[in-house]
Structure formats: structure tokens, C-alpha cells
Symmetry: C2
Subunit: 435 residues, 2 copies
């Protein structure tokens, strides 16, 4: 071989090597699979950080799995897709392993707009090409190595729980967390495990939510405050989860579900002892359908948003009246015939928004109990047949025109208006509703 030939060969090899280095991976993927992967992690991207890589979506691709990850200052989400047997969901056409971070804000909308059922993804060093049908989107990415990994937790306590149950427990409590950072402990939901009971508590000092669930298994004691933003994210993943295990360490927690993991920091504060805030007795108790009260509060919100409503209750007569604050624009009056009532007449003012938040946590058709001690003491809301495991508190609003000693007068009580000419059609509607 002449030197010239050798040189030519070396050049050719060099070119091939460079070409191989350039194209790291070619992947064919069902567009829906890619879309779902992206949509399940994208909410977790940090929206306000100044570090570009943290705004991005990390993706690690091997021949048999794709792992996507996104993180913010509170929590991180990791979702994995396994290659199915025939590679119908995705197939690596070329390459062994690639990891990139899509930090370009347009990435999500580009993925959502990909026109065809399948997409080819070509990863070249710091560039990715997405081809779907005629469209060929080329854009710059960051290297995946720099993206933070999930920490490994040491000394964890864990328990398994039914995802539907955990979802319900969270729905029942997270609404009552505080959005103000002045008392960080209140921005999370307090998780306590003790004596086989899993207890969740939340309060923003105006209302309080409390629920218990029997674990039927010995678990070491847990006392942790999980940020509300994490819980809102977790609830979205629980919908599709078949199982979930929760691992607690001192400062962190991991939810492990079928194909996803959510990692979160814990709020390192002491949670206040809220059990002592719950009234142990009452002078008035009433029973009503949660959805009836919810509808009344909805009307009140439309009439005067942000204004308290006045509740007038005559339990012996089963009379319940809700009135908006009367002002220059008008007033809303709405009467309800109670299912049951006991104790003294009472009237008080309350924020319709706060009360509705609690009421709406009860399933459709359910009957709830409202307990009152005094015009200025918390209203206790409980499910009909469950004395201890679940309750909500709402603090009334002080209103100068209402006096605890005033007689509770409900004039012209009418629980339902029936219009003569439409009586029949109203009944039809009602019948239709119940079907």
C-alpha cells in the first residue's frame, strides 16, 4: 500500500467515526407514546428557575426503555416506557444509548403538533431532528449528563396503599392547605402514621381538613409534611396507577407507581397540634345533602363573590336559609328543607368559597352533618355515618349586624318554588335527574 492510499483510508475511517459520533441515535416512536411521555412529566418542569437545564425535559433512551424526567424546586417526576415485545410503541433503529435535555420551550407544542401517527427522532450530539410526515423539526438540545438524578433515600419507612384510596385522602385534605408562605408548615399536608392509622391533616387557619385511614399493617411511625404542589401532581398520576408504594426518609419522600416515580422534598417544620382546635360538643346539628348546599353556595358566589353569606338555621323546623349580604345591587335568598335537625336555632356568617371547598369534597348524593357551637366557633362538617375518621372545619366570619342573642327569624320560608304552568315539566325534570 502506498502512503497516499493509507492516508486516504485513515481519512475515510476518521469520517466514518465522526459520522458515528455525530449521529448518536435514531429512534422510531409512536407519536402518541411520545406525547404521553412528555405530557406526564412536563408539568414538573421548573417555570421560574434561571438555570436553563432545569426548565427542560430529560430523556434517556436505550433499546428497551425510554425514561423521561423533569424537576422543580419542590418535586421531580420520572416516567418510564418499556419497549413492547414487537417494538410497536418504539424501536431504536440505530445507536445504543442517548440522553438529552429538551430545554427549548417549543418542544412540548412541537410534540403536540406532530402530524402523523409515527415520529422519527434523530439525536445528533446537541441536535435533535423530529420527523413526522412531511414536517422535519430540527432543534438544539442540552446534554443529558448534567440533568440531576433522583437521590437514593436512606433509612426509609414505606407502606403500600391503594391508589384510589390515597387519591381520595389527598382530595379530602389538600384543598385546605395554605398558599401563603408566612407559615411554611401550613403549605403542606401533614402525614402521620401511628398505631396502624394513616392520618392526614391540612389547615390554612381559616379552615381545616382531617381524615384517617386504617393501614391494617405494622408501619413504623411517620411524621412528615408534603408540599401541596407535590400532592396535586401526585393525584394526577394516581388516576392511572395500579399500585403505589410510599417511601419516607427524613427529608424526602418517593411515590413509586407502575411506570412512574415522584420524588419530593419534605417541609422541615413542626406541624401544629390541630386536634385541640376541633370542638368536642355542639348545640346544633343538621343533616342535608352535600350537593344541595353546594348549589346554594354556587349561587351565592355568583351573586356576591368574596362576600360572606348569612346562614339562618331553625333545626326543629328543619328550616335552613342562605342569604347573600344585601347591598345596593341586590340580594340572594335560598331556602332548604333539612333532612334532620336538632338543637338550638342559630345564625352566622361564613365565606361561601371556603364552605363550598369543604362541601364539594363529599361525593354526589351523600348526606352530611353540620355541627355548630356558637356564631363565632368553627362549623364542623362530617359524613353522615363516620364520627371520627373524617371531618372538616370552617371558621365563620364575624359580622357586626349579627348578634348571638338575636332571635333567628326566617320569614316566608319556601324550600322550593313550583311554577303552576310548568309544574308538570318540572316534575319531569326531577324524574329525569333521579334516573
Amino acid at each position: 500500500m502506498t502512503t497516499a492510499l493509507v492516508e486516504k483510508e485513515i481519512l475515510e475511517i476518521n469520517e466514518q467515526v465522526e459520522e458515528q459520533l455525530k449521529v448518536v441515535m435514531t429512534l422510531d416512536i409512536q407519536t402518541d407514546v411520545l406525547r404521553q411521555l412528555v405530557s406526564r412529566v412536563e408539568r414538573a418542569t421548573a417555570k421560574t428557575t434561571t438555570i436553563p437545564i432545569m426548565q427542560g425535559i430529560y430523556m434517556h433512551i436505550t433499546s428497551d426503555r425510554i425514561t423521561a424526567r423533569a424537576m422543580n424546586s419542590n418535586y421531580g417526576v420520572e416516567v418510564t416506557v418499556q419497549r413492547d415485545e414487537k417494538g410497536k410503541n418504539f424501536t431504536v433503529v440505530d445507536g445504543v444509548e442517548a440522553s438529552v435535555v429538551f430545554a427549548d420551550k417549543r418542544f412540548v407544542s412541537i410534540v403536540n403538533s406532530l402530524p402523523r401517527k409515527t415520529t422519527r427522532m434523530v439525536i445528533e450530539d446537541k441536535k435533535v431532528i423530529l420527523k413526522s410526515g412531511r414536517a422535519e423539526f430540527r432543534f438544539n438540545v442540552l446534554l443529558g449528563d448534567e440533568f440531576p438524578k433522583f437521590p437514593r433515600l436512606k433509612d426509609t419507612v414505606s407502606f403500600k396503599i391503594d391508589p384510589t384510596v390515597l387519591s381520595r385522602l389527598y382530595d379530602k385534605t389538600v384543598y385546605a392547605t395554605s398558599s401563603s408562605e408566612t407559615r411554611p408548615a401550613l403549605t403542606g399536608v401533614h402525614h402521620v402514621v401511628k398505631d396502624k392509622v394513616f392520618r392526614l391533616e391540612a389547615t390554612d387557619a381559616l379552615r381545616l381538613a382531617y381524615i384517617e385511614h386504617d393501614l391494617h399493617a405494622d408501619v413504623s411511625e411517620i411524621d412528615a409534611i408534603v408540599p401541596a404542589s407535590t400532592i396535586n401532581e401526585v393525584m394526577k398520576h394516581l388516576k392511572d396507577a395500579g399500585h403505589v408504594t410510599v417511601y419516607f426518609s427524613e427529608n424526602h419522600l418517593i411515590y413509586e407507581m407502575d411506570d412512574s416515580k415522584i420524588y419530593t422534598r419534605l417541609i422541615g417544620q413542626n406541624y401544629p397540634d390541630i386536634q385541640r382546635l376541633i370542638p368536642t360538643n355542639c348545640v346544633t346539628e343538621i343533616q342535608l345533602k352535600a350537593e344541595d348546599l353546594s348549589e346554594m353556595l354556587k349561587h351565592a358566589n355568583i351573586m356576591n363573590p368574596n362576600d360572606p353569606v348569612i346562614l339562618k338555621i331553625r333545626p326543629q323546623d328543619k328550616q335552613f336559609r342562605l342569604m347573600s349580604k344585601e347591598n345596593e345591587n341586590g340580594v340572594l335568598v335560598e331556602d332548604l328543607l333539612l333532612i334532620n335537625g336538632e338543637g338550638d336555632n342559630i345564625q352566622l356568617a361564613v365565606s361561601p368559597k371556603l364552605l363550598k371547598d369543604s362541601i364539594d369534597r363529599y361525593p354526589k348524593g351523600s348526606v352530611i352533618r353540620l355541627q355548630f357551637l356558637h356564631m363565632h366557633k368553627p362549623i364542623v362538617i362530617r359524613p353522615l355515618n363516620d364520627d371520627k375518621q373524617n371531618l372538616d372545619l370552617v371558621l365563620p366570619v364575624r359580622m357586626p349586624t349579627l348578634n348571638p342573642n338575636d332571635e333567628v327569624i326566617i320569614e316566608d320560608f319556601k324550600a322550593d318554588v313550583q311554577l303552576d304552568i310548568y309544574k308538570q315539566s318540572e316534575e319531569e325534570v326531577e324524574a329525569g335527574k333521579e334516573e
Copy 2:
């Protein structure tokens, strides 16, 4: 009769009279009928005026009809509901005639939240009570007498037109109006009737829309500019209209439909002669499906909103390439095989948003023609088989990197990417689309 008795009787009569004066009217109405009436006029309420009554919805009620009206500085809408034979839609229970103005901003949301199929409306002087089911909304209203009436037009020229046709003519033109008030004439659509032809024109100086419709009837000459906001409102009413007659006077216009009337001011300006802007020849003409180009422009908008795209066209090879501007973030390349092409190669830059606006006015499945004269001259868009009655112009963007004398090079043209492993499923998708 003793004086005391007489006095007592007079007092009683007085009370009765006062009571009657107080309650002007009681009306039972199907909630849906009320809701529709309100929703059809509410868009026309003046949002920015300082006169409270002009923000309101006027309602005039007699035993056989309800008329609702709302107005702003450009136009007014009036909708009428006739009582049906059996009074199933509404019935006046008490009273003869009432007219009120609902100026309370919550009125629309209250009407939308009324819980039952039927609603009772009690009008008392300056108060209205809405009862539906348990809810009883009481609020203050203004007297109807002060609400402006529709003016009667003098010396009108009018013609009937199919609402579907008028709707299409408006859809084809109103998009091209200007939103800038610096040249008021361009904020409206120019209406011209001459020699039995109804012509509409709109332009914002960057693009232009032109359409003609044969009236098949002798109508006096019309030359009027209708504000775009009026036309957008009229289009919503045309959807449900069985017929429409348009009455033009010197300064105003009225659309008269089945049960509604829209009254508008005209823009009192001279419209520019835009016919001379339309190129009469071209060096390149291509044919393609409107929806293909629309999809490509959608991708470009996602990739780089507000940035012009570059079109490269080789008509003899039927090659059409769209490229987004290449920047630090990436680039979009999309190729299309043309249905037909004639003339010289050409490349130019254009706003994807402006071009998409025009293209999207063509119905799904339709083939359109694009005509080019020069890199800096307007692009002419026409339907395939209609040379004179409809066209759109879009002005290209000047881009320093593009030179009219440069060769138009399209490297590595690929009109469609077929991924091997999914070939079959892609074909299935395509087959499914055509079904």
C-alpha cells in the same frame, strides 16, 4: 258610613294601588329561552362606556313577545321571542307591559346559573326577582325608557341574500381588515353593489381579500364600509337565520333576520381603489391542497411564531419547500409535492400567520392556486376554478439573505417520510382519514 270607616277604606284602596304600582309584572319563562335571549344580545353590550345604562341588557315584555336589546358605539342587536301558542316558552302571569335594563354585570352569570328548567321573573319598579327552584335572586335594574331605540332609516336601498352566502362572503373578507385605527376605512369591509354584483373588499395594507357574488336582481348602487366588529357579530347570528335582508342608508345599515335585527353605523370614509393593487400577470403558478399548506404553516407558527418563513418553489419539478428562519434554537423544514406547477423557479419570505389566515378561508379538500410575480410582489391566492370572483393577496417580507437572482436550490427534497417499521400503520391511518 262614618268618617272613620271611609278613611279606613281609602287607606286600603291606597295600599292596593301602591301594591299594584310596585309589582309591574310577573313572568314565567323557560330558563333556556331566557338564557338564549340573553346570550344572543350580551356580546353587544358596551364594555368600555362610562354610561351604566349602555352596559346593560334592555328587555321589553308584553303578553305576546319579549324583546331584548344591547348596544355599543359601533352596533346594536335586538332579538325578539314570540309567545308560542300554549305559552310553553313564556307566560305573563300578571301585568301588561314592562321594560327594564339589567345593568348589573352579574345578570348574565346569574341567568346562566339558574338551576331549574323554569324561572319566575317578578319586576317591581326598579327591582327584579328571579326565582328558579330554591334560589331567589333579587337585584336592582334601571328603567327601560332611557335605553336608546334603534333609529329608523330613511331612503334605504335593500336586498335579500341567503344567510349562508352572506356568511361565506364575510368569512372570506373580514379576516383581512385592519385592527389599527390610524386608517379608519381599513377597519371595515367595503361593500359595493353595482351592475347586479355584490362585491366585498378588505385590506390592512399587508394582505387583501376580494370576493364577488351575483345578486340576480336589480339593486341601486351601494358603496359602504361596515365595521369589522359588526360583521363578526352578524356572522354569529347568520348561522341560525333562515333569511336576511340588508337595508343601507347613508350612514347606517340594518340586517333584518328571522327574529333579530342588527343595526350598525357605517364608516364614513372613502375606501381606497384596491383593484389596481392586484397583479394582472405572473411568472410562476402552482396548485396545491389548501389544508396541506395550512398544516405546514401551523408547524412554522409553532417553531418560530412571528418569524417569516422562506418558500422555495421549483414548479417544473413540482417541488415546494417551506423553511422556518434558522436561528440558535433550530429550524423547521417541510417539503410538499405540488399538484401542478408552471413557470420560473422562485423563492421568497412571508409571514406564516398572514398566509395561513388566507389559506384557512378555503374549504377542506379544496385545491388552490398561488401566483407569484417577483420576490417582493404580492402573492395571489385563488380557488382552482374561479378566475375573477375571489382572490386573496399577501405581501411577502423582504429578507436581506434572499436575492432575486439567486438560483433556487432544494437539496434532499422529500415530500413525505415513511418509517419502515410503521409503514403499514401509516397507510392504515391514511386510509382511515379518507373514509
